[in-house]
């Protein structure tokens, strides 16, 4: 059980990481313990995969203490474009 909602996390990520696209889904059936997120931000540019994830983990450090399961896909705008094109195919 945590007090966080998908909307809250989306707003925080958008704000702190200046993300151009954020989608957080609550996979916990409403108990607020399990989320997955797709984040697109220029802040990820020039960072290795581990560094991108670390940046998100740090941003949500306080929240992750209560959120039991958090999964993320973090892309730079360029990577995100590629991903979307692949999905169209």
């Amino acid at each position: 059980m945590s007090k966080y909602t998908a909307k809250y996390l989306e707003d925080k990520l958008k704000d702190k990481l200046e993300a151009t696209y954020v989608h957080v889904s609550d996979d916990s059936d409403g108990c607020g313990g399990k989320f997955s997120a797709v984040i697109v931000s220029k802040a990820f540019e020039g960072k290795a995969l581990l560094q991108k994830h670390r940046l998100v983990n740090t941003t949500l450090a306080e929240e992750l203490k209560e959120i039991h399961a958090f999964s993320q896909k973090s892309y730079t705008p360029a990577e995100w474009e590629k991903v979307q094109q692949q999905e169209k195919q």
């Binding site: 995969l49 581990l50 399961a69 993320q72």
Partner: protein, 163 residues
């Protein structure tokens, strides 16, 4: 749990138990259970210990449960990825040891389990392993430490058959 232990340890309860022991000795003989959580929770393992642990094999995984019986979906995903690539690795079950669980989180400054190390270097958790599996990076990283992925072998065998 502690409270139950305390009740069981009360002299009055113990003497009742003693009576029972005499009537059914065979049964009680198998019921000497100890509970570690009566003691204070252990402190997190220190950096030196972790540094040794992550180097016990080329690939080391800290997970919930063990590879035969993972006790978390994310840990299970890592086990399945390792199985697909045919990677030999050491697995540590953090649920068996709270000091290890906290120790590894402190060591990597990473909030979640599972955690994967290759050649003593922290690589990432489930999301990162999944992504590396999908984009081929995992095969490359394994190659660097002298492990040839089963998926690579299969792909090469396939190519050879085509020629």
């Amino acid at each position: 749990m502690n409270r139950i232990c305390q009740i069981l340890l009360r002299p009055s309860y113990a003497s009742n138990l003693a009576t029972t022991v005499r009537t059914v000795p065979a049964l009680t003989a198998t019921r000497r259970w100890y509970s570690a959580d009566a003691a204070a929770p252990p402190a997190a393992l220190d950096k030196d210990t972790l540094e040794k642990l992550v180097r016990t094999n080329k690939v080391v995984v800290f997970m919930k449960g063990n590879p035969q019986a993972p006790r978390c979906g994310f840990s299970n995903a890592v086990v399945q990825i390792m199985r697909m690539h045919g990677v030999p690795y050491d697995a540590h079950d953090v649920l068996e040891n709270e000091a290890l669980r906290q120790g590894v989180k402190d060591y990597t400054d990473w909030p979640t389990i599972p955690q994967v190390f290759i050649n003593g270097e922290f690589v990432g958790g489930c999301d990162i392993l999944m992504q590396m599996h999908q984009n081929g990076d995992l095969i490359e990283e394994l190659k660097k430490v002298g492990i040839v992925s089963e998926l690579l072998k299969a792909a090469e065998a396939n190519d050879a058959a085509k020629k």
